[in-house]
C-alpha cells in the first residue's frame, strides 16, 4: 500500500464522482482548445491571405464596390456577381505608370449544394494563368504545363473525384491542381482559363445555373493590380479609377483592416466569454474538490492518527485532484481538436467565418500549450483543497458528530 495506490483506489472507488469531475474538466479543456483553434485560425487565415494575396488593389465595377467594402470580402468574388466592367479596362489600368502587373478574373454564379465542395458552395472563376499572381501562388504542387482547355484548379475544399473529372452545370472539367488552404473564399472556388470560360459559354447544353443570362460579352468582374515599388498605392488607385470610369479601387490593406476589425470584435467577445467561463469553472472546480475534502474529513483524521504527516495528506489530495484534472484535460484537448477538424466545413458555412487549421505538428504543440495553460490556471483550484485537507485537525474529525 502506498500513496499512488491509495489515490487510484480513491478515484476508482468513487466512480460517479470521478467521472463527473473528469467530464467537467474535459468540457472545459475541449472548449479552451477548440475556441483557441478557431480564433487562431481566423487570425492566421487573414494574415496568410494578406501575405500571399499578391495584389495591392482590386478593381471592381462601381456598383459592386460598396457592398464589397462593407462586407470586407477580400477578393470580392461573389459580391461582384451580377456586376461587370468592359474588358478594355484591363489595358487602361495596366498601362498606368505605377502599375507593375494586372490580371483579370471573371466570376460566375456559384451553384448551391454541389457535391464537389465539402462546404456545399463552389465559386467558378475564370482567370488568366499567364498574368495571374494571386491564385497560382497557392498551388500545392506546381503544374507541369500551362492550364489547358477544360482544365481547372480546385480550392482546398473542392472535392476532386478519383478520376479528377467533375461536371459543373453540364460542363466537364479535369481538375489538374489544388490550392493549399487559404482561409478565404478561394478554398471553395474552381479556377479555369478564359479560353475554357468562352468555350463553356458557347456550349448550348450549359444551363443557366452558373452563367448569368445578362452577362455581356468581353466583360470582367475583377482586375487584380500590383503596384510598382516606390509608387503610392493610394495614388495608383485614384489613377486607376480615373483611367477606367465606372470602377472602384479596393485597397487590400483597407480590406485587411476591415476584416481584422470585424474579427477583432468577435475575437474580443469570444476571449472575454472564454475568460468568464474559465473563471467560473476554476471556482467551481475548487468548490468540488473542497467538498471532496469535507466529505473525507474522517478519513483524513484517521490517516493523521496512524502516522500520516500534513505533507502526506497534502500530496495525497493534490495527486488525486491533479490526476482527475490531467485526465480530463487530455481527453478534452483531444476531443476538442477532433471536433474542430471534423466540423470545420460546417463552422465555415454556418458561422460565416473562415479559418486555417494548423498542421499536425502545430496542432500537437497547441494541444500541449493549452494543456499546460489549463493546468496552470486551475492550479489554485487544485492546491487550495489539498492545503485545506492537510490543515484539518484530526481530533475534531474523530468525534461522533461532524
Amino acid at each position: 500500500m502506498n500513496l499512488l495506490r491509495l489515490v487510484s483506489r480513491s478515484i476508482t472507488g468513487r466512480k460517479l464522482r470521478s467521472a463527473l469531475i473528469v467530464l467537467f474538466i474535459t468540457l472545459l479543456a475541449g472548449l479552451m482548445l477548440s475556441s483557441t483553434l478557431v480564433l487562431r485560425g481566423m487570425v492566421s487565415g487573414l494574415q496568410t491571405g494578406m501575405e500571399r494575396l499578391g495584389a495591392d488593389i482590386i478593381m471592381v465595377p462601381i456598383r459592386g464596390w460598396e457592398p464589397a467594402l462593407a462586407k470586407g470580402a477580400l477578393l470580392a468574388s461573389d459580391l461582384v456577381i451580377g456586376f461587370w466592367m468592359p474588358k478594355e479596362n484591363l489595358d487602361k489600368v495596366g498601362g498606368l505608370e505605377g502599375v507593375e502587373q494586372v490580371s483579370p478574373q471573371l466570376c460566375f454564379r456559384p451553384p448551391r449544394d454541389t457535391p464537389f465542395s465539402s462546404t456545399g458552395f463552389l465559386y467558378p472563376v475564370a482567370f488568366d494563368p499567364e498574368t495571374d499572381f494571386t491564385i497560382q501562388p497557392w498551388l500545392a504542387k506546381k503544374l507541369d504545363k500551362p492550364l489547358g482547355l477544360r482544365e481547372a484548379i480546385g480550392g482546398n475544399c473542392v472535392t476532386v473525384p478519383p478520376d479528377a473529372s467533375m461536371t459543373l452545370d453540364g460542363y466537364q472539367f479535369d481538375v489538374v491542381g489544388k490550392l493549399l488552404p487559404t482561409g478565404m473564399w478561394l478554398d471553395e472556388a474552381i479556377f479555369f482559363s478564359f479560353e475554357t470560360a468562352e468555350a463553356m459559354m458557347r456550349e448550348p447544353e450549359i444551363g443557366s445555373i452558373i452563367i448569368p443570362p445578362d452577362m455581356p460579352a468581353n466583360s470582367l468582374s475583377v482586375i487584380m493590380v500590383k503596384v510598382k515599388n516606390g509608387y503610392s498605392i493610394e495614388t495608383v488607385a485614384m489613377e486607376s479609377m480615373m483611367a477606367a470610369p465606372g470602377t472602384g479601387a479596393i485597397r487590400c490593406a483597407q480590406i485587411y483592416r476591415i476584416l481584422y476589425a470585424q474579427r477583432a470584435g468577435l475575437l474580443k467577445t469570444l476571449f472575454a466569454s472564454l475568460g468568464i467561463v474559465w473563471g467560473l469553472a476554476i471556482m467551481l472546480t475548487g468548490l468540488i474538490f473542497s467538498l471532496m475534502v469535507t466529505e473525507r474529513q474522517r478519513e483524513i483524521g484517521m490517516l493523521r492518527a496512524v502516522g500520516a504527516s500534513r505533507n502526506f495528506i497534502f500530496r495525497m489530495f493534490l495527486t488525486e485532484s491533479s490526476s482527475l484534472g490531467m485526465g480530463g484535460a487530455i481527453i478534452g484537448v483531444i476531443l476538442g481538436a477532433i471536433i474542430v477538424y471534423a466540423t470545420k466545413s460546417w463552422l465555415t458555412s454556418t458561422l460565416g467565418i473562415e479559418f486555417l487549421v494548423p498542421s499536425l505538428l502545430g496542432l500537437l504543440a497547441l494541444m500541449v500549450i493549452v494543456l499546460v495553460a489549463a493546468l496552470t490556471v486551475s492550479l489554485p483550484a487544485l492546491i487550495y483543497p489539498a492545503i485545506r485537507a492537510s490543515r484539518i485537525d484530526p481530533a475534531e474529525t474523530l468525534v461522533k458528530e461532524i
Binding site: 484517521m302 496512524v306 500520516a308 484530526p394 481530533a395 474523530l398
Partner: protein, 222 residues
Amino acid sequence: MLELQNVTKVFKPRRRPSVTAVDNVSLKVSPREFLVITGRSGCGKTSLLNVMAGLARPTSGKVFIDGMDIWSLDDRQLSALRKEKIGFMFQVPSLIPVLNIVENVMVPTMFTTGRRRLNAYDRAKKALADVGLSHKMESFPRQLSGGEEKRAIIARAIVDEPPSLVADEPTANLDELTEKEIMALLQRIHQAGTTIVLVTHHPSLIGYGTRHLTMSDGKLPE
C-alpha cells in the same frame, strides 16, 4: 511510558462560551497496563485520549511518550512517533470505504520505513488472522457487521505491533455478546504485552482492565 503533566484542554467555539474538556489532569500509564477510564458522555474522555495520543495539542501542560515531550516535536516527527508508539481504535467508523479490509489494515504500513514495509501484506494478513477475520480480507467495509468492523479496526491498530493501544468506546453500538468478544480480543492483545488505555461510559467494562479511573467534568483524580 505515557505521562500527562497538568494537562488542560480548552475548546473555544465561535460565538459560544469556551469549554474546558480536560482540566489540569496528571496521569501516568505504566507499560503493560490495561487502564479503563469511565465517565458519562461529555466528561472529556475522548479529548483526554486525543491529547494523550498526540492528536490534539493541550492548551497547557505536557505530554510525554517514553520520556519525550511530544509537543516539542514538529509535525513530521510527531506523526512518526504516533506511528511507532500508538495504535488507535476510534469511536467513529474509520475504515476507508473504497479499500477492502486487508488494504484498510495495511494503511498504517504506508508510513513504516525500512524492511518492515516490504512484508506489509503478510503482517496485515496475520493481524486479520489474530482478530478472526481471515475470511473477510477481500470484503469491503460496507459488507461487514458492526462487530466485524471493530475487529478490522483492531487489526489495523495492531498491524505494526505498537507498544500501546488507545481505544475510544470500542464497544459502542454493539450487542452484549459482540461486546464480550471484542473485549476478550483486547484482553488477549494486552496479555501479549501491549499497553491499553480504554475509555468508555459502560461500567461493565471496568473488570477487563488492570486499573480503573473515573473522569468527571474534565477532571481525573489519581
